[in-house]
Symmetry: C2
Subunit: 596 residues, 2 copies
């Protein structure tokens, strides 16, 4: 039988036509001696009707249960008055079945196929093929397909070449933990799965391909605390003969097209550019959510000579004082304010100073330590109004920024200040080249050691703190969508950076030898970017978790309850690879896998 | 500076315009006090000219060597009479440089960037970024990009959804050897890299996605004897509610578009369908090269009662006799014929019977054993002409088919019978479901155990030999481009197949449990296909080896000489994974890696 079309696509225009459709029984109702079935495929639902007049078909239909697979032929008709469903795209029509074939049966399911059902994630993942039948999931994956199609079309139009890079590469000690793959022909040696195609895409620029892209799977063997997966997908690109604005322009064009296609949103380009310093100061974050205000202000200069000894001491030691104003926070109880203090404590803050702003002025037990003009400066700089609560952190810069940044986000959410219909894009730029590693007492690369410094930047220990990089992150609504940089293309600059990072020539050669070699042989200026594709799709689908846009995700315990991966393998396999398991844990130690 | 376009794209239409281009110094000639440079980028070459009148630029240009990276601006002009190069697309124009920036330098290269240079593959792979600069390579990867783009466009148009499947899956004992990845959170357990997305794409059909595709990386840890790689790319698709012809039709449409785009060839569809039995009989191969004739004929019936005891004995024991006619082979010397005998010996044949066809009839020392009508039957059935050599193999069917098939190919090549401009596509269909495993003395699945039998086929031990599968391979010029099948969608049929394969319920549950479960919950009829993407690209590029269309291939020793993967890792890494290396081989045992 030839399919006339997908279930969800039929409209009144097809009334009177004989049609054949395939699908799953979404639900069945028997009413007035007639059997009504909602037949579902990836496009949606079509109501099909079995009338007792057609005895053979009707009798066969009586055996049909939920999730049976049907092939039906019939004539499409207008639904009778009063049975029209305005909430369904196909709600004005129904198919009167003349021919039925039951292609497959199904027992009762372990859970209902519904968008609203509450089932444990473990069970949903074990029966992922059932869960994925949910209309919301079908929509998510159709959208993910459309997004990747649009990205490819855009990058094709822009002259990018899709070039595949290897999955079996070499482990590098930089970055996150690698997944290792024992090499059968070289016992004791291992391949590593790529954390990103970073080095290979730079090599492709040295090879003269000019513009490269890939929608690439990447791997990081890190604990899955947040909404992360062992394997994830990124839109990865690299361009030659470019500066920062060129790369940012490509991504702006890409996102503009994607948002139009996926959610019909017209986003404005170019995006706002915000320096890293500004983002940390005003929003306490390198990925500021600018959908609401409540900006942080610095009072280190204004309160330098205040009578409040806590501030004075911090400032004297080179620390800073910053604050923000929480709208309507003056009504918070003492215990509510204590909870805020505890919250910023998680970021290392040792206290939270506060003042309630009332019609009569500022009120709290620290107000007395401040001069009236200091109070006025605070109120005016923060734009605080009567009824607001002004809070301060005084500490080293990192603690203050992170604490107030987190508090700002928390209050923004709790007070309903965030307009969920906004798409606030921005670029964070002018990142520092280096950050000081307290534990190892040395400079680390903030991005990666191939990131180019700004033109004319001195790469000395003295200037390490101030040196800025040609790096950029694209942020949407407080989420980092991706980032990249212009790379170092001259080997003498690369050497200076390694020197500053205390990476010896030998270590550099061991780790990145072939990239360093490549840079000497006529490397062009180049730069690129990587976007988190799963996160982008989740945002577009309005999903909180990337697991809702990944067909077969792993649990937080890094297990796939459907296939029971990972699993034990045979001794023969291990012997061929020249490896041995050191401590074989009891199956009980991996509770996710007890059904294996 | 903003690039006006790629070097290779400028023509006479741009004469008189001021242009800026970037590129690599392909070659430099000093002639008549003027410096000529062939500037190369991925699109091709543009001649740029430095005239002594422009002193500053000219002096700077004197320092330029091969593979320096330049940014130049100048006015495009017509080349003077007598200097036009008709072999270059840009051969009528040249750019007179007014502004030069040397973006990077390069020392002398370890080998020349030229399409004709002979360098060891080891060295070429070590400096892959230099080798990839060769214009032929640039063309290959631009073509590969265009092929993948065209495939995606076609499949998008046909309603396929690109859905990503996991790389970290579960090891299955069927098929080739798996690459294993130790699981850090579950010591003693391993993920396996996918040999193909087979089970996941079937699961996606059960999940209702209807049409799936992916251009997917796959992994097989097999020895790289032939032109194989550890990781390879396949165009992978699956469809629901289809039969064999639907899937074959999709692939025919795909290849038609790809061949038009990539090599401007109009290929005729539908392709010829040839049964497996026919292919093995006529061409001695399940991937026949039909660009030349020299077909094999069976004489088992005609020679049943011949007086030649070698044939009679084989036929009496249930063997077969087949032959083919080698054009102009009657002139072969005795030692040339001995070489052919030795050649078929590699396929297990214990001798090669032959007759020279002359104007006077058949000549050889076995002719006397045959009746004249038998000789006439042989000559007429083979269409042998005076001057040909007729050869026979008598043995069990497999030996005869393989021996004569290989001999046919060898002679076709050596005698120049193959028209290299032909694209002869065909489908091999009606494959057997099972083949007998002599060693294990049991039936094995010829494709894989999820392949559907033909409708009405009895799945009994008695019928195992004859049972045909809904399987199909697409063959181009004797190369298997891909293959697939309609899958079993009913669990009771799957159980019958497992029974016949002597796979117990427990073993089936252990290996494929979740697929079997999925089949019970309303699986639709479905089928699919996978095409070897690297091989397809190599064929289209006219390359013998897939390594010429893979950016970073491994050597036959499974090593990447550029990155030195695989390599030793730290004890800390292994400890975290709970594995230990059993026998650490000396580096000397891996000669590819001595430069590590």
């Amino acid at each position: 039988m030839k399919r006339s079309g997908y279930c969800g696509d039929f409209r009144e225009a097809s009334i009177g036509k004989e049609l054949s459709v395939f699908g799953w029984v979404h639900s069945r109702r028997d009413h007035g001696g007639v059997i009504f079935i909602d037949l579902r495929d990836r496009s949606g639902i079509l109501q099909i009707v079995f009338q007792p007049e057609n005895k053979e078909t009707f009798c066969a239909a009586e055996h049909i249960r939920s999730e049976y697979v049907l092939s039906v032929t019939g004539v499409l008709r207008q639904r009778p008055e009063g049975t029209i469903n305005p909430n369904m795209p196909t709600g004005k029509v129904e198919l009167v079945v003349s021919k039925l074939e039951i292609l497959n049966a199904s027992p009762a399911l372990p859970f209902e196929i519904s968008d609203y059902v509450e089932t444990s994630e473990e069970l949903r993942l074990k029966y992922r093929y059932l869960d994925l039948r949910r209309p919301a999931f079908q929509k998510n994956f159709i959208m993910r397909h459309n997004v990747s199609k649009e990205i490819r079309n855009y990058l094709n139009d822009e002259g990018f070449l899709e070039i595949e890079t290897p999955f079996l590469g070499k482990s590098t000690p930089e970055g996150a933990r690698d997944f290792l793959v024992p090499a059968r022909l070289h016992h004791g040696s291992f391949y590593a799965l790529p954390q990103s195609p970073q080095i290979f895409k730079q090599i492709l620029m040295v090879a003269g391909f000019d513009k490269y892209y890939q929608i690439a799977r990447c791997f990081r063997d890190e604990d899955l605390r947040a909404d992360r997966q062992l394997e994830f997908t990124q839109v990865d690109l690299e361009m030659s003969f470019v500066e920062e604005e060129d790369v940012m322009g490509v991504i702006e064009g890409l996102l503009k097209r994607v948002f139009k296609t996926a959610v019909n949103a017209d986003i404005k380009t170019p995006f706002e550019r915000m320096s890293y310093a500004d983002a940390m100061l005003r929003f306490g974050s390198d990925k500021p959510d600018t959908r609401f205000e409540m900006e942080i202000k610095d009072f280190s200069a204004e309160l330098k000579n205040s009578g409040f000894s806590v501030f004075a001491n911090v400032l004297a030691k080179g620390g800073i004082v910053r604050g923000l104003s929480i709208p309507k926070g003056a009504s918070f109880s003492r215990s509510e304010i204590d909870a805020l203090t505890k919250f910023v404590g998680e970021y290392g803050a040792r206290g939270l100073a506060w003042m309630k702003i009332t019609d009569a002025g500022a009120e709290s037990n620290i107000v007395k330590y401040f001069k009236e003009e200091e109070i006025q400066t605070i109120i005016s700089k923060l734009g605080a109004k009567s009824g607001d609560l002004v809070v301060f952190l005084a500490d080293e810069e990192k603690v203050v920024a992170q604490g107030l940044g987190a508090l700002r986000l928390k209050m923004g959410k709790e007070l309903g200040l965030i307009d969920k219909n906004k798409f606030n894009f921005l670029w964070v730029v002018d990142f520092p080249m280096f950050e000081w590693d307290k534990e190892e007492r040395r400079w680390q690369a903030l991005h990666h050691p191939f990131t180019s410094p700004k033109d004319g930047e001195a790469l000395t220990q003295d200037n390490a703190k101030n040196a800025k990089a040609k790096a950029y992150d694209v942020v949407l609504n407080g989420v980092e969508l991706g980032g990249g940089s212009i790379r170092i293309h001259r080997s003498e600059v690369q050497k200076q950076v390694f020197d500053l990072l205390n990476i010896t020539d030998d270590a550099a050669k061991e780790k990145f030898g072939f990239l360093l070699d490549a840079l000497t042989y006529g490397a062009p200026p180049h730069g690129g970017v990587a976007l988190g594709f799963d996160r982008l799709c989740a945002l577009l689908a309005g999903e909180e978790s990337i697991r809702e846009v990944i067909a077969f995700p792993k649990t937080q315990k890094a297990v796939d309850p459907m296939s029971n991966a990972p699993a034990a393998v045979s001794e023969k396999q291990l012997k061929e690879l020249g490896v041995r398991v050191v401590v074989k844990q009891q199956p009980a130690a991996a509770p996710d896998k007890k059904e294996a």
